[in-house]
Every structure is written in structure tokens, then in C-alpha cells.
Amino acid sequence: MEMDDAAAVARVRSGDKDTFRLLVERHSQTIFRLAFRMMENEQDAEEVVQETFLRAYRALDGFESRANFGTWIYRIALNRCYDLLAQRKSRPTTQPQEDRDAPPAVDQIPTKNPSPERSLLSQEIEVRVRSAMEQLTTGERIAFVLRHYEGRSIEEIARALNVRPGLAKNRVHRAVKKLRQELQPLRTFR
């Protein structure tokens, strides 16, 4: 029978380091998906995944046995994303010009056989959306991504960020307001 998370945590705590592998294998994909959605960058997402598991391992003593390991590690990953996004915001953009001009790694507006004009418009939208996301505060961005991309409820967001539900709701709403303002010019072209 496969060992559940709680049993695996207990084994690791008793000194069996290699059992941590089981937890890493079980939760890596989820953490990567979350990290990529937050960071929109593969390299940063990988860094978040790695850091998250390292931090979790070191903090395993503080993990309450009654808690859910998946929820706990999700929160560690969110905190790491938060820190990285805040760092990214506080330092000037050093991204080379050619990278910024390259098509972003976000979904194209789904169309079959898009015309060159349509492709161009999609790219323009993506660049604008990415730039609009950069205008959000770290807290707004995280709350918005959790609500809009991850489909989490306000209550879940509040719990994950350890804030009051009212504050989580405000962050989502402020984010939407800012995004709508930033993207307003595009709506006339659609």
C-alpha cells in the first residue's frame, strides 16, 4: 500500500531523509504549475519549486501533523513567489531589449489558422496583459492569479495568504480595476 503524506512526513522526521523523495515526487507538478502562473517565467518557477521543497524540509519540525502537507507546501510556495515577485518589483528591469520584444509565453487567443493581423493583435494583447500584470502590487497579483487563473475562492485566498477575507477580496478587486484600465484601449480593437 502506498504511504500517505502524513506517514511519509513522520518517516522523514524520524531521520529517513530519502522518504522525502515521495513527497517531492507527489507535489512537484502542482507547485511548478502554481509557480509558473505566478512568475510567468520558467527559470523563476523552477527556482520556486526547488526553494519550496528545501524550505519545507528544513521547516518540517514546525509542521503540525494534523495539517495537510499539500496545503502547507502550497503556502510555502506562495510565500516564495511573493518574495521573488517583490524582489523583482524592487529592482530595475534588466531584461535585454530583444527578450522583451520576443513573443511572450502566454496562451494565444484561441483561433484556428489565425490571420497575420489576428496573430499580431494576439501578441499585442499578450504584451499589454503582461505589462498590466506588472503594474499590480505583489499582493494584488498573487490574489488575482489565485482567483482568476487558479479558481480559488476568496476564503481560500485569504487562508493561503493568511489575511482577512475582506483584504483578499479588496486585492482581487483592485487588481481587476487596474487591469481593466490598462487593457481598456485594446477592447476597441476586438
Binding site: V12, Q29, F32, Q50, P104, T138, H148, K169, V176, Q184
Partner: protein
């Protein structure tokens, strides 16, 4: 007719909030709000989730191989007390101290009538009682040191954006629990200045303990203003100094009494 606010429309879009049914009913009869909701949804449609790069079935193993060398060896837990979180020890010590203090106090009240008669008319506490009071003073002094450190940390914290106070919040909860016990004991001993301060401190610590772990600069400022306006740090400092003095004085007296007895 009162129209729905943008916030209400957004809650409706995300199916959040308690008033969804009311909002839905309004939307069926209000073309203006329907059109505003459509505009919000149109705008949000542009924000498409980034497509996530594929990670193969061996991704977990890859991550494990990358981090394995960096994981330190954990010392196996052999004793049950190692499973107790470190912070609970502070509370446990407070409980133990207060328990011993009260027990001693209770048992000293049940002394024999001969002793009662001997002690009648004197205001001097028994040696055992003096020791207990000295221990309590020392413990309260340490408690005030820790509390002062926490309040100073928060008073001097400054971040341009949000600040993570989860560590301070946890400490505030522990200190509030210990504070309650010290206050109860100080009430029994009858030291009004310490009781008043501990009472005030408890409110501040509980307030800190109920804060979210991340604070905006504005929320932090609000807390800092509250600490400052109550002059709580100053009061802690004054009582702490007095407690330390009193404790040192009592230790000196106890030592000289002991020397007197031996000579």
C-alpha cells in the same frame, strides 16, 4: 432603482459573496447592470492564463535529484518532549512558576495555629514566601524584557510595501498566554502597578496576536501609533527597571539574612 456596484458585479462574475442571488435577480431586470457586467467580463477575457510548459512524469525525480544533496541529515526524534514546539516551553515555564507560587501561598495559609499566633502582629513574610516572590519578580522581569523586545521590533519596523510579521505575531500569542498567568499571580500578591501594566500589555499582545501575518504599511503604522499613543513601551521600561531593582534588593537582603544566620 439602485444599481449594482462594480465590486458586486465582480463578485457575481466570480460567483463569490453572500448576495449572489440578490445580484442575479437584479441583473435579470436591469439592462444597464447587465451591460456593465458584460464589459467587465469582456475585459477579463483578455487576461488569459499563461500556458504552462509541460513537465514529464519524471519531473518529481528530477526535482529530487536537484535538491537531495542540499538536504541536511535530520536527527531522529527519540524523546517525546522534542516533539513539543519550542515556543510552548515559555508558556509551560510560566504555568509551572505560577503553579508553584500559588501552591506555596495556599499551603502557607494553612499553617498551624501556633505558627499563626507566632506570626500575628508581624508584617514580615516567611522565608519561603520571600523566595517565591523573588522568583516571581525574576520571571516577570524576563517576561517584560521579551515583551519590550517585541514591541520595539514592531515600533521600528518599516517596509515600503507589505511586511511579514508572522514571527512577531506568534511571539505575541505566546507572551499573551504567559502574561495572563503572571497577571493572575501578581493580583494574588497584590502589586497594583504590575497588575495594571500586565493588564494593559495583555490587551496589546492579544491585539497583535490577532493581526494577519502580512501587514500593509498603513496597518503597520496604525499598530505603531497605537503602541506609541498608549505609552506602553515607556511604562514597560519603568516597571521593568523597578522590578529588576526590587529583585536585586531582595536578593541582597536574602543573602545578608543568610549570612546573619550562619554567623
Amino acid at each position: 432603482m439602485k444599481h449594482l456596484s462594480d465590486d458586486q458585479l465582480l463578485l457575481d462574475h466570480y460567483d463569490d459573496g453572500d448576495d449572489i442571488e440578490v445580484a442575479d435577480r437584479h441583473l435579470t431586470s436591469c439592462a444597464e447592470c447587465r451591460s456593465r457586467l458584460a464589459a467587465i467580463e469582456e475585459g477579463l477575457k483578455l487576461v488569459v492564463a499563461p500556458s504552462i510548459p509541460e513537465r514529464g512524469p519524471d519531473y518529481g525525480s528530477e526535482v529530487w535529484n536537484r535538491i537531495r544533496a542540499e538536504l541536511p541529515e535530520l536527527t531522529p526524534r527519540q524523546h517525546w518532549w522534542l516533539a513539543i514546539p519550542r515556543w510552548t516551553w515559555a508558556g509551560a515555564v510560566a504555568v509551572l512558576l505560577v503553579g508553584v507560587f500559588l501552591l506555596g501561598r495556599y499551603s502557607s495559609q494553612k499553617q498551624s495555629p501556633i505558627n499563626e499566633a507566632t506570626n500575628a502582629g508581624t508584617t514580615t513574610a516567611s522565608p519561603a514566601q520571600q523566595v517565591r516572590e523573588r522568583v516571581l519578580l525574576l520571571a516577570v522581569g524576563d517576561h517584560l524584557d521579551r515583551t519590550q523586545m517585541l514591541l520595539m521590533e514592531l515600533s521600528h519596523a518599516s517596509e515600503p510595501g507589505e511586511i511579514d510579521i508572522s514571527g512577531q505575531r506568534q511571539r505575541a500569542v505566546e507572551l499573551a498566554n504567559a502574561n495572563r498567568l503572571y497577571r493572575t499571580t501578581a493580583q494574588n500578591v497584590g502589586d497594583p502597578s504590575i497588575v495594571t501594566l500586565l493588564d494593559e500589555l495583555e490587551r496589546v499582545l492579544l491585539q497583535l496576536g490577532h493581526q494577519p501575518s502580512r501587514l500593509t504599511a498603513r496597518d503597520l503604522k496604525r499598530i505603531q501609533d497605537s503602541i506609541q499613543s498608549q505609552g506602553i513601551l515607556f511604562k514597560v521600561r519603568v516597571v521593568r527597571v523597578n522590578v529588576r531593582k526590587e529583585s536585586a534588593q531582595r536578593s541582597r537582603t536574602a543573602s545578608s539574612q543568610k549570612r546573619g544566620q550562619t554567623t
